[in-house]
């Protein structure tokens, strides 16, 4: 400090563009190191750049701005690095799926089955698998959503004491059931009655997987409804069941729908129980209660397993993956739309 009039509240600050400059510099340096040391893997380059960025930020900031600001900046840059590390696999997954999936994805592919097409030949489509997926997931939702929502209502609005604790415990246990176990459970029942594979059996297993997810998310949403609203309604002389039906559920319906949609998205990608119980079928079978059906995840698995170096089956598997991702994404968007549409309005 050369003069006594220097403000104690102002300190030296790095310019606004400095994080970008440090990031650019560390990437450049990482490339130079990578080339110089002859590292082949781009992953190593990326890691070197990330470490250089964090260390560089700390070093420069500590020198210019002081230790406390340097710690602040290092926290910020760690958050950014973590974010990028999380996004990279996601982006690369979507990129690869789109790039490989669009090859055979067209209207013909979406509207034809594999009925007369051998796995090794080109042509064919996923119409039968889409039908199967929609029916199995739809039926599973019809079972799991009402049961799950009602269970959650019981737990939040009525449940006291041992019974509700027991239910909560079993819901927790059910959340952890591996999908193959749910499949085996239904399979053991089917073997008991000597049944052949059919779509609805898959729906039952999927419903088992879906139920705890619905219970959990609905429970959280119902707990978010302020108690004051329940009391306001009760104090008007409204019976408890009508309070739940007309005040609590409408207030939380957006969140509940989102939860159900996310649970649907989760079971739409399940392969194991479908493989065990629905078996797969290259022909179109629109009846979920009789005969083997196909489903999208199962189709992807079978095409890939049977491709045996055949490019056609390999391409079909990727195209079906893209369809499945698109299906799940559309569900998510629909859920968000419903949540926004149903959210309590605050406008004047």
């Amino acid at each position: 400090m050369s003069t006594a009039t220097v403000s104690t509240l102002k300190g030296a600050r790095l310019p606004k563009w400095s994080p970008y400059a440090i990031a650019g510099g560390s990437v450049g340096l990482a490339i130079a190191i990578g080339l110089g040391a002859g590292l082949d893997s781009r992953v190593q380059w990326g890691l070197i750049a990330a470490i250089l960025f964090v260390v560089g930020t700390y070093g420069i900031a500590a020198r210019v701005e002081g230790k406390r600001q340097a710690k602040d900046r290092i926290a910020t840059s760690l958050v950014w690095v973590a974010f990028l590390l999380a996004v990279i696999p996601l982006v690369s997954l979507v990129w690869v799926t789109v790039a490989r999936g669009v090859k055979v994805l067209d209207v013909y592919f979406l509207t034809h089955s594999m009925g007369v097409v051998a796995d090794t030949e080109p042509g064919g489509g996923i119409y039968h698998a889409i039908i199967g997926s929609l029916e199995q997931v739809g039926l599973a939702t019809l079972i799991a959503a009402p049961v799950g929502v009602l269970t959650a209502i019981y737990l939040v609005e009525y449940g006291r004491g041992k019974l509700s604790k027991a239910i909560t415990f079993f819901v927790d246990v059910m959340t952890g059931i591996p999908s193959i176990v749910a499949g085996l459970f239904i399979l053991s029942l089917m073997l008991q009655f000597e049944m052949q594979p059919f779509g609805f059996a898959g729906s039952l297993a999927l419903a088992i997987l879906m139920m705890p997810v619905v219970v959990r998310s609905t429970e959280e949403m119902l707990k978010l409804v302020p108690n004051e609203l329940r009391e306001a309604s009760l104090a008007l002389g409204v019976p408890k069941w009508r309070t739940i039906l007309k005040v609590v559920l409408p207030t939380s319906i957006g969140g509940i729908t989102t939860g159900i949609m996310l649970a649907v998205a989760r079971i739409a990608g399940e392969t194991a129980p479908v493989l065990l119980l629905v078996f797969g079928n290259p022909f179109i079978n629109t009846n979920p209660f009789e005969g083997a059906q196909a489903s999208l995840p199962l189709y992807i698995y079978q095409q890939y397993a049977n491709s045996a170096g055949s490019g056609a089956a390999y391409d079909r598997a990727w195209a079906a993956s893209l369809t499945l991702i698109a299906f799940v994404m559309i569900l998510n968007l629909v859920a968000r739309g419903i949540a926004r549409w149903k959210a309590p309005k605050t406008g004047r």
């Binding site: 009391e231 104090a235 002389g237 409204v238 005040v247 207030t251 309590p344 309005k345 406008g347």
Partner: protein, 258 residues
């Protein structure tokens, strides 16, 4: 229409904790009775026992008698839902239903009870909003959400909602504590009008407010933290604030306590 409340030997618990003990008092019809006292002395708990809202809280339980004219609210075969239709309540924080419009909020009590004629609904809503001095401010936007109103308007909306079901008694649990002085004045004026038709009980921390709006005032206190709250005295408001018969009351209202 307004009814008299006669409480005798009322004790209320939260689980094993005794919140208020052995309270007896009479609340006159067509008058305003104010409850004052330090935080935690059981004013709100006592208020909530008067329309059986206390038992909504897990573990809440009540002993004693609350006579509404000549019926015991805690007698056998009494339906708490019916009790709450006779004894309405306004809460501390304005709590309009967020999914409903202004109109639907006021109509909620009738609609959710299922006891209304469609043709009457609009009349009842208008009458209630006028009764709550809110009609002129909202008549052009009855279909807008109730949560878009200001805090004071929301509280008057809640009062309109409560009086729309034509209760005999209106309980108010610190109805102005979340409001600014102007909204408070509006609500206090409203209380003065409403006492022509209803029996009103109001809990307040604001002693000037109790002095302004109430005909009779009850002072509650507790011996120590963790001890149950008790009714110290109830009398004409004027007497309580000028010449109370118990020293503790005078200490409290003049700020000398603890």
């Amino acid at each position: 229409m307004a009814k008299r409340i006669d409480v005798s030997g009322l004790t209320a618990y939260y689980g094993s904790h005794k919140a208020i003990e052995d309270i007896s008092m009479t609340v006159e019809p067509r008058s305003v009775t104010a409850f004052i006292g330090p935080s935690g002395c059981g004013k709100s708990t006592f208020l909530r026992t008067l329309n059986r809202m206390h038992e909504v809280t897990p573990g809440g339980r009540v002993e004693g008698k609350v006579m509404l004219d000549d019926e015991d609210l805690y007698g056998t075969g009494i339906d708490p839902v019916s009790v709450r239709r006779e004894v309405g309540m306004v809460f501390q924080r304005p709590n309009p239903f967020p999914t409903m419009s202004i109109f639907d909020n006021v109509a909620a009590g009738l609609r959710l009870n299922g006891s209304y004629k469609k043709s009457e609904l609009a009349d009842v809503v208008e009458k209630s909003l006028k009764g709550a001095n809110l009609w002129n401010e909202v008549k052009d936007r009855l279909n807008k959400p109730g949560s878009g109103l200001s805090g004071g308007q929301q509280q008057r909306l809640c009062i309109a909602r409560a009086i729309a079901v034509e209760p005999k008694v209106l309980l108010m649990d610190e109805p102005c504590s979340a409001l600014d002085p102007i909204s408070t004045l509006a609500i206090e004026d409203l209380i003065g009008e409403l006492k022509e038709r209803f029996t009103i009980v109001i809990v307040t921390h604001n002693m000037q407010q109790a002095a302004r709006v109430s005909d009779r005032t009850a002072f509650f206190n507790l011996a120590a933290v963790g001890q149950p709250g008790k009714l110290i005295e109830i009398d004409e408001t004027e007497r309580i604030f000028s010449n109370p018969s118990v020293q503790a009351t005078e200490d409290y209202i003049s700020g000398r306590f603890g």
